[in-house]
């Protein structure tokens, strides 16, 4: 497919909104013994070309399922029940499995949390990097190997000629994640989807990997979707952030605005409950209660049972994400209360 700004999708006609990825009203259900889990329930967002979107939330918020639905690698018991996932204008949900396979690599690539389980343990590292270009770009063995060596140099693997023939177990965690990045970049994708890529790494190695990833994506104009539970990590990598709670988006906006000046009580709760590196509070403010069951989620706003600002309408009205005049979006009906709470926080010495 051409990399032109306007591409004609086979379904739904040409739609160019400057977005490389557009997700609309995505719903994913998982069958379980306890009933149907509504893991992702009406999620919509877009990622502009060359942009980086962070998707944050706690375990069970649906962030990983959203990512897996985009990639088309949902576990067998999960399925997309409705929605659209447009990659460069093409709705992935309308494509056959084999057609999606052809896009994975040259259009979208992925980086997972555990490189050891994502890499093939019995295949030489260089071969794993060269495999994509051979299949998707039609390169010959020698050309693909040359490209793999070049990529290994770009991601900072020392002594690539020798390391080409090594196996994943001979690499450290940080080096394995560099290999994953090389594989992700190997077919010049337009977007890379990352699921907690640095969670398993030590902080100095995380720092190396995050800086490498952001530099490489910027140099080659690749867009990013970055799933994580770590708020400061998002701030370092992404321009925009979307906060997920109970399978839905509750807030979206520019990353520092959202994290420093939230417009949703859940985001405020997350920020207040995490010990901050920059300044020390007398005590942390936990979010009361526990995350909602997604088999029978609460009515109205899913956060209302844990929300200090909840009123009667929160229990009954649906709370879709709505765009505020500032361009930010919140799902909270009474987001002004969050503003007041932040003011009060700041007024305190």
């Amino acid at each position: 497919m051409s990399a032109g700004p306007v591409s004609t999708g086979p379904v739904g006609g040409p739609v160019d909104t400057g977005m490389i990825l557009e997700v609309r009203d995505l719903r994913v259900r998982i069958a379980s013994r306890r009933g149907v889990v509504r893991a992702v329930d009406g999620v919509s967002f877009g990622v502009p070309r060359g942009g980086a979107l962070g998707l944050v939330g706690e375990s069970g918020s649906g962030k990983s399922m959203t990512l897996r639905a985009i990639l088309g690698v949902l576990p067998p018991e999960a399925q997309v029940t409705s929605g659209e996932i447009r990659l460069d204008g093409v709705d992935l949900l309308q494509l056959k499995g084999a057609e999606v396979n052809r896009l994975r690599g040259p259009k979208m690539a992925m980086i997972f949390q555990e490189p050891m389980s994502a890499l093939n343990p019995v295949m030489r590292v260089g071969q794993q990097i060269a495999e994509g270009p051979q299949i998707h770009l039609g390169l010959g063995r020698a050309q693909a190997a040359e490209r793999a060596l070049e990529l290994m140099r770009r991601v900072g693997i020392p002594d690539p000629e020798r390391r080409f023939r090594a196996y994943p177990h001979e690499f450290s965690g940080g080096m394995r994640q560099r290999v994953m990045i090389a594989i992700a970049l190997s077919c010049d994708p337009e977007i890379i989807l990352c699921d907690e890529p640095t969670t398993a790494l030590d902080v100095t190695i995380q720092d190396q990997i995050l800086r490498l990833l952001t530099r490489l994506c910027r140099e080659s104009g690749v867009s990013l979707v970055f799933v994580t539970h770590d708020l400061p990590v998002v701030a370092q990598v992404c321009h925009d952030v979307a906060v997920m709670y109970g399978g839905q988006l509750v807030e979206r906006g520019e990353v520092r605005e959202v994290l420093l000046d939230p417009r949703h009580p859940y985001t405020l709760g997350l920020v207040r409950s995490a010990p901050d590196f920059e300044y020390v509070r007398e005590s942390l403010v936990p979010i009361p209660g526990s995350p909602p069951s997604l088999v029978s989620p609460p009515s109205g706003c899913r956060f209302h049972p844990r929300c200090a600002f909840a009123e009667d309408d929160c229990r009954v009205s649906d709370t879709p994400l709505r765009v505020l005049p500032s361009g930010r979006a919140t799902a909270c009906l009474h987001y002004e209360r969050t503003l007041e709470a932040i003011e009060a926080d700041r007024a305190r010495p």
């Binding site: 900072g156 530099r215 997350l270 509070r281 979010i287």
Partner: protein
């Protein structure tokens, strides 16, 4: 934070712990054992009533040191003293009672086949903490102390959430009325919103019970929130010890500085082009570099760092700030290292690749 005294309650002197790596058979063929020096001659003092943090990356030996202090591992050499008395290698039941641990993973550290009440009863009887008749009542008190109800005593660990399980683990540690609580990454396995409740609980218990807390963590934000002093470990050694605010505002060891710089902050610029704070991977603890063990990743390494191993020494103007670096308290050399560039990855190599490097 607590009001700690200057009195040393628990101390380690020259403590080393090593583990044999590989099979005993392979060791016989080679004619020597391969030893992993997890903790390598550590001196540490924990003061009564303080909250001391032990920070470092994986493989730095912080958990091993904590387990040695708690008596779960016997050190190869060195002494551990409690309240001025050297503890014997085989500790008495009373000595073990005084230092209790809370582990990282509340899913694997609780017996799945015992109810919480059963677990506490067993402990209280074996250690004879309270008279038999009061066991039930004391169990209820413990549950209340950690924010759980008496009804939870009949529940099994699987019926609790992660945060609640960690509360149970804390109740179990407190059941023995310890003087020191050693918490090894107590919140790393929990979600952010739950972490806060456990951190607040630890802080509150420490204040109410006058506990001495040794907190092992890789999360410096948690440490800053909770602890009075910080000890930084790197490859089995303590490289810096200082009051928390000093560690954060005026770190003296280049590793501590790099560690602080590596932490992502909300105020960082997106795609900031700074170089990584510390390059390379930590060396394998099987092949610890000679001289200063941080020199292979140190931005200011000099020839002297290769030749001599810096001891943990106090600042000339501040006996409470210790660092193990040749240049910790003298002006750092201006020119960058004239050494050959540090090897980027002395990562775990395969046995085959290792053969070439084993005798280094």
């Amino acid at each position: 934070m607590s009001t700690a005294s200057e009195e040393v309650l628990l101390s380690a002197t020259g403590v080393s712990v090593s583990f044999q790596v590989g099979s005993a058979l392979a060791a016989r063929f080679r004619g020597q054992e391969r030893l992993l020096h997890a903790v390598d001659g550590v001196d540490l003092e924990v003061r009564r009533g303080e909250a001391l943090a032990l920070v470092g990356e994986s493989g730095s030996g912080k958990s091993t040191l904590a387990q040695a202090l708690s008596g779960l591992i016997r050190p190869d050499s060195g002494q551990i003293s409690f309240d001025g008395r050297v503890l014997p290698a085989a500790r008495s039941r009373a000595d073990r009672r005084r230092i209790q641990m809370v582990f990282q993973d509340p899913y694997s550290s609780l017996n799945p086949r015992l109810t919480v009440g059963g677990m506490l009863r067993e402990l209280l009887r074996v250690h004879q903490v309270v008279p038999r008749a009061q066991v039930d009542e004391f169990s209820k008190e413990l549950m209340a102390m950690v924010g759980l109800g008496a009804a939870d005593l009949v529940a099994y660990p699987r019926q609790f959430s992660g945060g609640q399980r960690q509360r149970v683990a804390i109740a179990r540690a407190l059941a023995l009325r310890p003087e020191v609580l050693v918490a090894d990454e107590p919140v790393s396995a929990l979600d952010v919103s739950v972490q806060a409740t456990i951190l607040n609980l630890l802080q509150q218990l420490q204040a109410e019970l006058g506990l001495t807390l040794l907190l092992i963590s890789h999360n410096l934000a948690v440490v800053r929130h909770l602890c009075d002093r910080v000890a930084v470990m790197y490859l089995g050694r303590i490289v810096e010890v200082a009051p928390t605010e000093q560690i954060f505002s005026a770190p003296r060891h280049p590793y501590t500085r790099g560690l602080l710089e590596a932490i992502p902050r909300l105020t960082d610029d997106v795609g900031d082009d700074r170089k990584p704070a510390i390059a390379g991977d930590p060396p394998s603890p099987l092949r610890i570099p000679g001289g200063c063990r941080f020199r292979t990743r140190c931005p200011m390494a000099q020839p002297v760092c290769e030749q001599s191993d810096p001891a943990l020494g106090a600042a000339p103007d501040d006996a409470g700030h210790l660092a193990a670096c040749h240049f910790a308290f003298t002006p750092a050399p201006l020119s960058p290292a004239p050494l050959s560039p540090a090897p980027l990855s002395p990562a775990p190599l395969s046995p085959a690749l290792n053969e070439n490097e084993r005798n280094d």
